[in-house]
């Protein structure tokens, strides 16, 4: 594993690989290494690029090196009463750079936006082996193309971020979970849609197969009290709501947010218009397990079937399915990302080559990159 000490080091490594026609795979904490097809590539670890570059809480901006552990970043902002509002999560060892590159976002994503919405600026090394800067270190900026959007969720296909500037926001003073029980998927979705569309300012909404629906109410104490008081009335036509203790709610939220602990050796991450979530659940094969987040906009599906039936159902409902966990043979056969339309794929290939003309980062992890010339 190559371990560059800084961006200049990394630029040299990438330029060498480009000149020599070699492949590189970028790694943060290697917590998502099982995502995508099995492949052979030299590994480059960014875990050595650590540390906070600048953090002024009143500016709502944090600049940090890519290899800094996510947990450290979260502890730092928490110590100032702030948070990363996209609620990133990961296994021990996950880095901030890897988390953003993987586009990880938690339950609050439905109202607060995703990693893409909070990455303000970056320094990176492109597949050309060149250091470049994009975006900025202030919360409001439209100068030049929004390349940070492209880099967030790009899975290291364009370049290696070495430094990230993130928007941070105040952490709510009070968080209460209001819960309902015994709701079938369609009723659960209807209740969540009603809550998210109401003035009660619900910041997250999730549902589980046992019929539990979770609504998160967060903010200043008097506001949370007022909104929790009005929610049961607003949802009276859907369900009975009551406050759930934090120690009971936390593991349920975790399950809905991460899809962890679902049955089955195969796990799909389905993103779809929320109104179709219940229909997708109805179409699941026997024995499949699920968890619903983002008010129904995200469905984690656990199954033992190694076919693509879930992906086909998602596509029919205007959504898409990402294969996040599967035996090696299935990962070699089935694309990790949902297949894109031909024109989109061709455009994506051209944009990727704009950063990585020699396919240094096209390791075969995403098979569409290996066939870029065919589209």
């Amino acid at each position: 594993m190559l371990e560059p000490r800084d961006a200049a080091d990394l630029a040299e490594i990438v330029a060498d690989a480009a000149a020599g026609g070699r492949k590189l795979e970028l790694r943060g904490g290697s917590t998502h290494a099982e995502f995508g097809a099995p492949r052979e590539a030299e590994l480059v670890s960014l875990a050595g690029l650590t540390g906070v570059v600048d953090y002024d809480p009143a500016e709502l901006v944090l600049t940090v090196r890519a290899g800094t552990p996510l947990a450290e970043v979260q502890a730092l902002v928490a110590s100032e009463g702030q948070m990363l509002a996209f609620e990133p999560w990961g296994d021990a060892g996950a880095t901030i750079g890897g988390t953003v590159a993987a586009g990880v976002a938690g339950s609050r994503r439905v109202t607060a936006g995703s990693a893409r919405d909070h990455l303000l600026g970056l320094t990176a090394v492109s597949g050309r082996g060149e250091v470049f800067v994009a975006g900025a270190k202030v919360v409001k900026n439209v100068t030049g193309y929004d390349l940070p959007k492209l880099m967030a969720g790009s899975w290291g296909r364009l370049g290696a971020m070495t430094e990230l500037t993130l928007k941070v926001l105040p952490r709510p003073r009070e968080v209460v979970t209001m819960a309902a029980r015994g709701l079938a998927p369609a009723a659960a979705h209807a209740a969540m849609a009603c809550a998210l569309g109401s003035r009660a300012d619900v910041s997250a909404a999730a549902a589980l197969p046992d019929g539990t629906v979770l609504l998160r109410v967060a903010g200043f104490v008097p506001s949370v009290a007022a909104r929790c008081a009005v929610l049961p009335e607003l949802l009276a036509g859907h369900c009975a709501l009551e406050a759930m203790a934090e120690d009971e709610a936390a593991p349920l939220w975790w399950r809905a947010m991460t899809g962890e602990a679902l049955h089955g050796a195969v796990r799909w991450d389905v993103h779809l218009p929320p109104r179709h979530a219940a229909e997708l659940i109805g179409a699941l094969p026997e024995g499949a397990d699920w968890a619903m987040d983002w008010g129904g906009g995200r469905l984690w599906i656990g199954t033992d079937h190694e076919d693509e039936a879930v992906r086909e159902s998602a596509a029919l409902l205007g959504g898409e399915a990402r294969l996040v966990l599967a035996p090696k043979a299935m990962r070699a056969r089935v694309l990790a990302f949902h297949p894109r339309a031909r024109g989109v794929l061709a455009l994506e290939a051209r944009v990727r080559r704009a950063f990585d003309p020699k396919d240094v980062f096209a390791t075969g992890r995403f098979a569409e990159d290996a066939h870029a010339d065919a589209v």
């Binding site: 492109s126 900026n141 439209v142 959007k149 790009s154 105040p170 709510p172 205007g318 024109g343």
Partner: protein, 502 residues
């Protein structure tokens, strides 16, 4: 008038009539509509400028398609003939993003006016690009929803233009810019290909092409459909109007409000010249004996607003506020805003002309920036009034000048450029929400290195390799795509003298 545009292509100018015939065949226009192609010289006059009115240039012709198929056919034909195209929404850009070129077809999307679908359950609206920003809110407010980004031109500007410019507004600290509120678009690329990016669900897999199209200033594609998120309208809103002896104290108040965990729906600052101009214009009772005025608005449940207004008043007191008024009703809240919203026309009353700048700075540098701006004002002999989105550090200095005085526009532009350089020097940016367009084009190297700009331009090449779409905007130097694609073995290559610069 220091900003030069590319030299018009003589070959294109010579085949003007043939271009008009071909485009008229594609876009004949409905009977009685006056036709889909405008090419009579006198009829081009209304199209010669956008919101950056110091720059005027009649286009080669205007084409006003009504369907995506027509947009595609127009672009495809122009692509095959090597004819440049400038897309235009409502033409309210303050940076010259829609400034026509003498040798380019101006592609107006004004006929795409339909709201196609509203889905209250999933909280999205699908609209055509010519729908105005405010019309989206009007279409959904009956059910208690609204579209959050609210640029000050919202009664006129269209959602297609908002996507191109990544428009913000006074509420964007809390609710985000256009990019945070758009889920999907249909775009037509310069070669006529129609592509759908994003959709009606969150976080599609693959590269976030939608993310780079938003804010691309019409250089990557022409937007023909937009899917936006709509939000439940807050139950109530309240505002507090606070005066401070100087901007430094007002800035300290803003920092403390945020440090204490409050993200107001809007937080606006005005300096003394802006306060006086606004009060003289609308007479809403702004205090005239203060150095800086803050309008802080909170929205949400009544219980939250009451609580936060109390907190903000407490913080303002602690930071030396000399006047403080809380809105007790909707009329009073609107009055607080009336002066701020009229600040630009108000300045227009005290000066024949003004330039509106748009830099963002780290808020902690505000006192330094204002001090330096005063010095520059004295050096240039031009007055400046400041309005400021204080929450996010987005400054709008208004430079007062008289275009009838020879050389004064040039002086105002030089002053403006110095202000933007200052913004970058203190860690900020050239534009917070108005876009680069032509206005800030030549300042891009202040903020980005040659390598940074080339990387951005390579993305342009992935969408429009012949550089036919909205040329002359955003990038100070046009590199040919073939040149950008090459990989140099050595670093720090010499600049290329053969490249067109404008």
């Amino acid at each position: 008038m220091t900003i030069a545009m590319p030299v018009p292509d003589a070959e294109t100018l010579a085949k003007r009539e043939r271009i008009a015939r071909a485009l008229r065949a594609i876009v004949p226009g409905a009977k009685g509509s006056g036709g889909g192609v405008i090419d009579a010289p006198e009829a081009l006059r209304p199209w010669e400028s956008d919101g950056l009115t110091a720059y005027r240039q009649p286009p080669l012709m205007v084409v006003l398609p009504e369907t995506t198929a027509q947009v595609s056919a127009v672009l495809k034909w122009c692509h095959s003939e090597g004819v440049k195209v400038v897309p235009r929404g409502a033409g309210t850009s303050l940076s010259g993003g829609a400034l026509p070129l003498a040798d380019a077809v101006l592609l107006g999307l004004g006929k795409f006016k339909r709201v196609l679908e509203i889905d209250y359950e999933d909280r999205v609206a699908v609209v055509q690009p010519g729908v105005t920003n405010l019309a989206i809110t009007q279409a959904v407010e009956g059910r208690g929803f609204y579209y959050a980004p609210d640029p000050s031109s919202q009664i006129a500007c269209t959602i297609g233009g908002n996507v191109a410019e990544n428009s913000g507004g006074v509420h964007c600290l809390k609710y985000g810019l256009t990019t945070n509120n758009v889920l999907g678009v249909e775009i037509v690329m310069m070669d006529g290909e129609i592509v759908r990016l994003g959709g009606r669900h969150l976080d599609p897999g693959g590269l976030d092409l939608l993310g780079v199209v938003v804010g691309s200033e019409g250089l990557l594609g022409v937007v023909t459909e937009v899917t936006v998120r709509i939000l439940p309208k807050p139950e109530t809103a309240r505002a507090v109007l606070v005066g401070f002896p100087d901007a430094e104290q007002a800035g300290a108040c803003v920092a403390q409000v945020i440090a204490e965990g409050i993200i107001p729906a809007g937080m606006e600052m005005m300096d003394r010249p802006a306060i006086h101009a606004a009060e003289a214009f609308v007479q809403v009772g702004y205090p005239l004996d203060v150095g800086a005025l803050l309008i802080v608005e909170v929205d949400g449940p009544a219980a939250e607003c009451d609580f936060l207004i109390g907190e903000i008043a407490r913080i303002a007191d602690a930071n030396g506020a000399v006047t403080s008024r809380v809105s007790e009703n909707e009329a009073e809240r609107m009055a607080f805003w009336a002066g701020r919203k009229a600040a630009f026309p108000a300045v227009g009353r005290i000066s024949p002309d003004y330039l509106c700048m748009d830099g963002t700075i780290p808020r902690r540098r505000l006192p330094d920036v204002l001090r330096r701006m005063d010095e520059l004002s004295a050096e240039y002999g031009l007055r400046v009034a400041n309005v400021f989105h204080a929450g996010d550090g987005n400054l709008h200095p208004l430079i007062l000048y008289d275009a009838n005085v020879p050389g004064e526009l040039d002086k105002a532009e030089a002053f403006g450029a110095d202000i933007l350089r200052l913004c970058v020097a203190v860690g900020g940016v050239l534009t917070g929400e108005h876009g680069v367009g032509i206005e800030k084009r030549d300042l891009m190297p202040e903020m980005f290195s040659e390598a940074d700009l080339k990387q951005q331009q390579r993305v342009k090449c992935a969408f429009d390799p012949e550089l036919l779409l909205n040329p002359g905007k955003v990038f100070p130097v046009l590199h040919r795509c073939a040149e950008l694609g090459r990989m140099h073995v050595h670093h720090g290559a010499l600049p290329h003298p053969e490249l067109p610069r404008f």
